[in-house]
């Protein structure tokens, strides 16, 4: 049996539904430019119908079923993965960019230039072997070259430190986003457990996961409430858990030094916040290296050196330090900076090899007789320590007068044969693996598979250039891909102002119509109550 009040109620429900829809449209417009926002829609359906005896089902108006956010979870996940890859190469490219600036080639002021100047000074000495000025110029040009190499090595090392600091910051960012996500998980749980959908919180959750993915890749799973739990990509280590498991956070190895009893003392930036020093024996180092995929039977200093900047996982709560290892981070800023560190290490190593090769060759020619035997009072031009590039220097005992232009100190003053032999080193192909050897007179022999000194330097520059070019190409491609994906997300979840305005008009009209129903009912009631009967 239907009554006027019942109809009034139906109209009222209609009013409420249109008003709520209007409100949601307003919410959408308000958030049209909010990052990560997904448009929302009030799902309306016809309410439960009455059974009208002998007639059939009588509708009772509209019911607001839910407020949904419109998202394509698959696209969101894809964006996360592809952005993570984009960030890898962006971070890597930024690091190599700075390296390129340090090498400063091609230019008239780079190392290549000083190298040429040094060889030219020997060439000039070979023409003016009598002249002390020419010898002084040789010493000064050699010094300028050594200092340029030192300066470059210093800059590269500080770039390395900077990149490690960057990695610490990455770890800190990652950990703090995870902490925020933990708090968000609680909020989501509170709302979801009263069977409501926390749309805006879920948007925030997705946004944070997106930000997290720019730092490092991970495996995310969602439970029935919409809470997220995060593990490393290989699923081995919990980073954010909803079931109370022990969780780990990202930490970075910032320094490793061999100590006197065969072990290593390792400085860990725990969680990217505080540094902690631990000691590790060879087996520990071996494990770290194995995670990197290196079968380390003999641990070399270079291997150990390359562990600096490595991200490890440490316990977040509880006593002591529990380290877990995983090589599952394969994209994001952390991976990019790590790959950048590798390029830096490669260039340091190559610069060291280059400095050593150059210094050895020049010293060899300057200190030996034609038979290739070292002579006591023929002194080295260059000296260097463990890291040739940063420690390359002019021999302290070297004065201009000790520069040997001729065959020996007793040679006539016009003999420039040794200076000429050193100048001609410029075109000799050297191979650091092989022993230096005189060919004809004081000229060094070309070696099989060798490169010239200038060639060796150019190779370092080219290697850096190729890494950067490769990274830049991937960035360009990846940007297009991410752009396309973001368009797809925007096309699904984005707010269209025109659409919302149209909806607003639609809801307004429906609202007005519902109001009209109420007005009509009110008139009818007025007739019924005030004008019938008495």
């Amino acid at each position: 049996m239907t009554g006027l009040f019942n109809t009034l109620n139906t109209a009222n429900k209609g009013l409420m539904a249109q008003q709520t829809s209007l409100h949601t449209a307003g919410h959408n417009i308000a958030n049209a430019n909010t990052r990560g926002y997904s448009r929302q829609r009030v799902e309306l359906k016809a309410d439960m119908a009455y059974k009208l005896g002998g007639v059939g089902q009588l509708g009772t108006g509209v019911k607001m079923d839910s407020i949904n956010r419109i998202v394509d979870e698959y696209v969101v996940k894809q964006i996360r993965n592809e952005t993570s890859k984009l960030e890898t190469y962006t971070a890597k490219s930024q690091v190599i960019d700075q390296l390129e600036v340090i090498f400063n080639e091609p230019s008239d002021t780079g190392l290549n230039f000083y190298l040429g100047e040094m060889f030219d000074s020997w060439q000039e000495l070979s023409k003016n072997p009598e002249s002390l000025t020419s010898k002084t110029i040789v010493v000064e040009k050699s010094r300028a070259l050594a200092e340029t190499i030192n300066h470059m090595a210093k800059q590269i090392n500080s770039l390395k430190d900077e990149t490690v600091t960057q990695l610490e910051k990455n770890a800190l960012d990652f950990n703090s986003i995870v902490e925020k996500l933990a708090a968000l998980n609680d909020q989501i749980y509170n709302i979801a457990s009263s069977s409501q959908v926390p749309n805006d919180l879920l948007d925030q959750r997705d946004l944070m996961l997106h930000d997290l993915a720019t730092i490092a890749n991970f495996r995310a799973t969602f439970d029935a409430f919409g809470r997220v739990s995060i593990k490393t990509a290989d699923g081995q280590i919990d980073l954010l858990a909803t079931g109370g498991q022990e969780v780990y956070e990202l930490s970075v190895i910032t320094e490793i030094e061999a100590n006197e009893n065969g072990g290593y003392s390792i400085n860990i930036s725990r969680g990217g916040r505080e540094s902690q020093v631990i000691t590790m024996d060879e087996n520990g180092i071996r494990q770290l290296l194995e995670i990197e995929g290196q079968e380390a039977i003999d641990i070399t200093p270079d291997m150990v050196n390359r562990l600096v900047g490595k991200v490890i996982f440490t316990n977040k709560e509880g006593e002591g330090l529990d380290i877990r290892l995983s090589d599952s981070i394969s994209s994001g800023k952390i991976q990019g900076n790590t790959e950048g560190l590798d390029v830096i290490e490669d260039s340091i190593k190559e610069l060291n090899d280059f400095a050593k090769m150059m210094a050895d060759a020049i010293n060899y020619v300057h200190t030996r007789d034609t038979a290739g035997k070292p002579v006591d009072n023929y002194i080295n031009i260059f000296t260097y320590g463990d890291d040739p590039a940063s420690s390359l220097a002019i021999n302290q005992d070297l004065e201009a007068s000790k520069i040997l232009a001729g065959k020996d100190y007793d040679s006539p003053e016009g003999d420039g044969s040794r200076a000429l032999a050193i100048a001609r080193l410029r075109n000799v192909k050297l191979n650091p693996q092989d022993e230096l050897e005189f060919g004809q007179g004081l000229l060094l022999k070309d070696m099989t598979g060798g490169v010239t000194i200038e060639g060796a330097y150019a190779n370092i520059v080219i290697d850096i250039g190729i890494s950067k070019e490769h990274a830049d190409n991937i960035i360009a491609n990846q940007k297009v891909l991410v752009g396309q994906l973001e368009l797809r997300r925007e096309s699904t979840s984005g707010v269209s102002i025109d659409e919302e305005i149209t909806n607003i008009i639609k809801y307004q009209k429906a609202y007005e119509a519902n109001a009209r129903v109420i007005a009509t009912l009110a008139e009818m009631l007025d007739v019924l109550i005030n004008r019938t009967g008495v």
């Binding site: 040429g116 070979s126 016009g414 003999d415 080219i462 070019e469 102002i497």
Partner: protein, 317 residues
């Protein structure tokens, strides 16, 4: 596909930034004049440029070497021309002095002139270039020729304790060397001993120019006209021939150096041209491209302003 306002504005921004990036690249190339400014712009090209830069610098060094050597050799040539005419004059004096009808006084005047010529010869052979004696072997700072007790002597033997070693010395060791192109060394003849010794003189006493000239003075003083017109006259001719021979060798070196300079300049031009082809931009072409790009940029700004503005809101009320 559902297109929202943000899709429009994002796409617009992305394209605009692509255009700007391209413009930036052209601008960089136009303002520097160079195709590449960093290794990553084109690593292989940068490798080529670096090696060409080195080759050009090296070539320029060779050019200085060649020009220095040319100066040296030219000075030597002039000195030897003078030396030859001095010796020629001595020869004339010998012929004159061999005339049996000359008086004692005449002959002593001739002897006096020969002595003068001896000093002159020493001075000529002691010519220096750029602060270095040019016929001093490698002992470029010690004066090679001297007139001692009326005798012309060469001081700069490789082994002064054993002047006889001069016969067996390794001829390479007392000359100076210059690198004139990659791997090519040229030997500048500086050994003054070569000028002193005429190996084809049979008489041991006259083999050395100094000894010969002493003998000449001796013969003049003694009035030994037979010796003067005989062996001394024959031997001084041989010595003149010897000096001319050395001068011819030096001339050959001069020619070789001139050819090398020619080649060096050509090579340098060629290298520079090659470098410019690789490294430099074609300004006209790049400027056209830049203009096209900036037109595209302006057009996209224009269109952007048109498509981004209107919305349904403009038409309500």
């Amino acid at each position: 596909m559902r297109i929202t306002n943000k899709v429009l504005s994002d796409t617009f921004l992305r394209n605009l930034s692509t255009n700007l990036n391209q413009m930036y690249k052209y601008q960089q190339q136009l303002s520097s004049g160079k195709l590449v400014s960093r290794p990553s712009d084109d690593p292989l090209l940068v490798a080529k440029i670096m090696s060409m830069d080195n080759n050009i610098a090296l070539n320029e060094q060779y050019n200085t070497n060649i020009r220095d050597s040319l100066g040296w050799v030219k000075t030597q040539d002039t000195a030897l021309a003078d030396a030859t005419s001095t010796l020629q004059r001595i020869k004339d004096l010998i012929i004159y002095g061999a005339n049996g009808s000359l008086s004692e006084l005449d002959r002593s005047a001739i002897s006096e002139e020969v002595k003068q010529k001896l000093d002159q010869l020493a001075d000529i052979l002691n010519t220096s270039f750029d602060g270095r004696y040019i016929f001093a072997g490698q002992k470029t700072h010690s004066r090679p020729f001297k007139v001692e007790d009326g005798e012309l002597v060469y001081n700069n033997y490789l082994n002064p304790d054993d002047p006889d070693a001069e016969i067996n010395y390794d001829e390479n060791s007392n000359n100076v060397f210059r690198e004139i192109s990659q791997g090519v060394e040229i030997k500048l003849i500086t050994d003054g001993n070569k000028l002193m010794r005429a190996e084809d003189v049979e008489n041991e006493d006259n083999k050395n120019l100094g000894d010969l000239l002493s003998n000449v003075i001796d013969a003049l003083d003694k009035g030994d006209t037979e010796k003067l017109s005989g062996e001394l006259l024959a031997d001084i001719q041989k010595h003149i021939d010897n000096v001319v021979r050395v001068r011819t060798q030096i001339g050959a070196i001069y020619n070789r150096l001139e050819a090398a300079e020619e080649r060096n300049i050509q090579e340098n031009l060629h290298l520079k041209e090659l470098l410019s082809q690789r490294e430099d931009i074609d300004i006209a072409e790049r400027f056209m491209e830049y203009t096209v790009m900036s037109n595209v940029y302006v057009a996209s700004l224009n269109i952007g302003a048109k498509i981004l503005q209107p919305s349904l809101l403009d038409y309500l009320r």
